[in-house]
């Protein structure tokens, strides 16, 4: 009995793909994220945003191997301790808060002991509309640039939530 699904890198979509026993396909992508640069005095490298997408529309029965596979991918990501990861959910997506909670639960149950997660919930105002953006930042405890990363990350929250 495997304890996770095998995943493969698809060059065409630049995604890490796996399919579950219920024939549900998942794709995971990392994109370069320069958001922290805007709030930082110095250029911050190795910041990526992760996008985890269930491609198949049908409802999937609970499958613990999905979160284990995601843990495996993120563990591989942090083989480079200088990497940091941003996960974002916007209220534009109606399921933002529940996605954010699922991600937090995944982290709590994961075995990522050398990776720390911090959260920012940001109130944004755009074109007269106020909406909430849920974000999480994951970094390796041995990241040599953690002070700059955290300073920029918290500065974003402070400036945007400042009245």
């Amino acid at each position: 009995m495997p304890n996770q699904y095998n995943y493969i890198f698809n060059k065409a979509t630049s995604s890490y793909n796996f399919t579950t026993k219920n024939n549900i396909e998942y794709k995971i992508v990392f994109i370069v994220d320069e958001t922290l640069d805007v709030a930082s005095e110095v250029h911050i490298e190795n910041i990526y945003q992760i996008v985890i997408e269930k491609i198949t529309d049908k409802v999937e029965p609970f499958d613990s191997l999905v979160s284990k596979t995601i843990t495996d991918i993120i563990t591989a990501f942090f083989a480079n301790v200088e990497n940091a990861l941003i996960y974002v959910c916007s209220e534009n997506d109606e399921k933002a808060e529940s996605r954010f909670k699922v991600f937090s639960r995944w982290y709590r149950n994961s075995s990522l002991e050398s990776v720390t997660k911090v959260d920012n919930i940001i109130n944004c105002e755009s074109e007269g509309n106020i909406f909430i953006i849920y974000t999480s930042l994951l970094y390796h405890n041995k990241n040599s640039n953690v002070e700059n990363i955290l300073e920029a990350y918290h500065k974003i929250e402070k400036i945007l939530n400042d009245k």
């Binding site: 994109i31 370069v32 320069e34």
Partner: protein, 49 residues
């Protein structure tokens, strides 16, 4: 005061972009948006593993 406003505007713009980038990538993964649109928008895929 001006610096504060500029800062806030720049960060807001960046956050908005972060959110819209994700939406576009999700659409791309589902086959609803061509890769060219992502390239035009400056979205850079990474292979960190």
């Amino acid at each position: 005061m001006n610096n504060k406003t500029t800062n806030k505007e720049a960060i807001m713009k960046s956050i908005t972009r972060m959110v819209s980038d994700k939406a576009m990538v999700r659409s791309f993964l589902k086959g609803n948006t061509p890769i060219e649109k992502l390239t035009q928008k400056g979205i850079k895929f990474a292979k960190p593993i």
